[in-house]
């Protein structure tokens, strides 16, 4: 109970509220939004939707008149005030790592750290170096690092300024697939141990599905929708659910390992879920990504079927798919949501209507990743146990 009070207080204390407006030729940016004080908020949209401009405005790298920005009790911009970038307690990770070429990795990491008063530091150098696995790179120069290593250093450099807000502008976009695969687990690990809001600009739904808790969907300089990730992925009126590889993310807890069958048993929305074996311990939170086309619907639990997961769910919505032969069915079980893409004729045969109890059939070929710390409450101790994910398909580009 006390935990909840603290959480509410924290939320009102550090919530970010912003309003940006600019007309620039035929591009208009007109957005108003707030960002929760915890977790990762993805700014998602196509290129040209205004993602990067918003991020630069949040940092103060761009100054638009008629804008407002407040982080908790601190006003960073309004009609009278504009706090310059270097006086804002934020960390910014650019698309290209942009390390200072004249400084070693250590010098780069210390650059911001040394410019923050000792009393205001909330992280230590060694802690950050360990979190991002930079121990063996400290004496190297940026031109001797791989793309992924460089980006890790630049994340560490930003964290070492003890920011109250972390901004990332497509930190993986400039990397090749190998470097992406290398750095994603580090980002997930960061997500897990971070106690400040992170705003993550991306146009890759795969990254968003793995990292984000909230999503701000942008289109042509406007906010199309915003909300928790799961809701945004499953809302049938949004382009996300209607895209070819529509999927949703389930929040699950590992219950048991079935070593004999190379399976992990998860609990999810009151249901039991079997997935391919995950290197995690019981009680650990996992994020499971389920693609809409991999979900089938049955009216009764199928007997003699090879499908490993059969979840008792309820039909929430039925909507048209861009492909006329398909429909999208929104399903809910417990506090979790799923979407299924099924054939229109199957939908008619089953006679699906909203509110109807059904069974969602899902196979075990699912992608799991570590869940955010906050889904298990604020009391959760950041788990720094790092592990590789057995999910190559999650890296496919959108």
């Amino acid at each position: 109970m006390q935990n909840e009070t603290t959480q509410t207080e924290l939320l009102t204390q550090t919530e970010l509220q912003a309003r940006f407006y600019v007309e620039h030729g035929d591009f208009t940016l007109d957005v108003e939004f707030s960002i929760p004080s915890y977790g990762v908020t993805a700014l998602f949209g196509r290129s040209g939707s205004g993602k990067t401009t918003i991020l630069r405005c949040l940092a103060g790298l761009e100054r638009l008149d008629g804008s407002r920005l407040r982080l908790g009790d601190e006003v960073w911009q309004d009609a009278e005030r504009f706090v310059p970038v270097h006086q804002r307690a934020l960390g910014y990770v650019f698309q290209e790592a942009s390390l200072f070429p004249h400084l070693s990795v250590r010098g780069n990491l210390l650059y911001g750290y040394q410019r923050v008063a000792t009393a205001e530091r909330s992280v230590t150098f060694d802690e950050t170096v360990a979190l991002l696995g930079l121990e063996n790179l400290l004496e190297r120069y940026p031109d001797k690092l791989s793309g992924g290593q460089r980006q890790r250093v630049s994340i560490g450099r930003a964290l070492l300024t003890s920011p109250r807000l972390l901004l990332m502008d497509e930190p993986l976009a400039a990397l090749d697939d190998t470097s992406k695969a290398e750095i994603l687990p580090w980002l997930e690990r960061l997500h897990e141990s971070l106690s400040i809001p992170l705003v993550y600009v991306s146009h890759s739904i795969d990254e968003v599905a793995r990292l984000a808790d909230h999503m701000l969907l942008l289109e042509n300089g406007r906010v199309l929708a915003q909300g928790p990730l799961q809701e945004m992925l499953t809302r049938p009126d949004l382009p996300l659910a209607r895209s070819g590889n529509a999927s949703t993310v389930l929040n699950a807890t590992l219950v048991d390992q079935d070593a004999q069958h190379h399976l992990s048993v998860l609990e999810c929305g009151g249901e039991r879920l079997l997935v391919s074996r995950q290197n995690a311990s019981p009680g650990q939170r996992l994020r499971v990504r389920v693609t809409a086309r991999d979900v089938a619907i049955a009216l009764r639990p199928p007997a003699g079927s090879s499908v490993s997961n059969c979840l008792a769910a309820q039909v929430e919505s039925i909507s048209d798919d861009p492909q006329p032969c398909h429909v999208l069915v929104g399903l809910a079980f417990g506090d979790q949501k799923l979407i299924a893409r099924i054939a229109r004729h199957a939908h008619e045969q089953l006679g699906l209507t909203p509110g109807m109890p059904v069974y969602a059939l899902v196979n075990i070929a699912l992608s799991c990743s570590e869940a955010s710390w906050r889904s298990s409450g604020l009391s959760h101790t950041p788990n720094c146990q790092h592990r590789k994910l057995s999910a190559p398909d999650i890296l496919a580009s959108y």
């Binding site: 940092a59 970038v85 270097h86 006086q87 934020l90 960390g91 910014y92 200072f100 911001g112 923050v116």
Partner: protein, 227 residues
């Protein structure tokens, strides 16, 4: 061997090159930064003015400086009325003359280096809590260090070889305003080829050694830092 007068001329030459280069670097750094980043339209005028000493014959430059810095000149006259000496035929006058003469050789590389530094690096520094001045010293200057090196070498070397401005402005006073290049000229005029040889050879060797040292340093920079 080297006569005391020739040794004095060499000393004056190096002192002059060193002092005028040092002052130029300090004064030109903010000016080059401003030129590299300003969008002011009158910028072209300043750029042309800075490059003018490159085009003008040194004698023209020396002539105007003599008039300006002499007892009746605008600068010299003002100094005299304030109880100071005018600057014609003085070492200070030579420093001013050398600085104007070498100005383009410092401004050009510095401006180019500042222009080449990406704005991104300065933005990064800003997000890492560095104030504008801090960003300049901790990022812009280190990234432009090759420009500084080139500017220093060019200015120093150019002042070593200075002749026209100094002969107009300096008065060729041994030990005070006589520099090596003019001493060599005097020796040749007096048919003292031996002395001219000694002094010339010393200049050649010293200049060469300086350049080797500088380019060695430059290579070291390259390995450590920017390509």
């Amino acid at each position: 061997m080297l006569s005391p007068q020739d040794a004095g001329a060499l000393w004056v030459t190096f002192k002059l090159a060193l002092i005028s280069t040092a002052i130029l670097l300090v004064l030109c750094t903010p000016l080059a930064w401003w030129l590299a980043h300003t969008r002011w339209r009158g910028k072209t005028l300043i750029e042309a003015l800075v490059m003018l000493p490159l085009v003008l014959p040194p004698t023209v430059l020396g002539f105007y400086l003599l008039i300006l810095l002499g007892p009746r000149g605008w600068v010299g006259g003002t100094l005299e009325s304030l109880g100071f000496n005018h600057l014609a035929f003085s070492f200070s006058g030579l420093v001013i003359g050398s600085m104007i003469y070498s100005l383009p050789f410092v401004m050009q590389p510095l401006t180019a280096a500042f222009q080449a530094t990406s704005g991104r690096m300065l933005e990064v520094a800003a997000t890492l809590r560095a104030s504008p001045l801090d960003r300049f010293f901790s990022v812009a200057m280190p990234l432009a260090r090759r420009g500084f090196l080139t500017a220093a070498v060019l200015s120093f070397a150019h002042t070593l070889g200075e002749f026209g401005v100094i002969i107009m402005l300096g008065g060729n006073i041994p030990g005070r305003t006589q520099v090596a290049s003019i001493a060599i000229y005097d020796h040749v005029e007096a048919m003292d080829y031996a002395s001219a040889h000694t002094l010339s050879l010393i200049l050649v060797v010293l200049s060469f050694a300086l350049l080797v040292a500088v380019y060695g340093l430059n290579r070291k920079f390259k390995v450590v830092g920017i390509g």
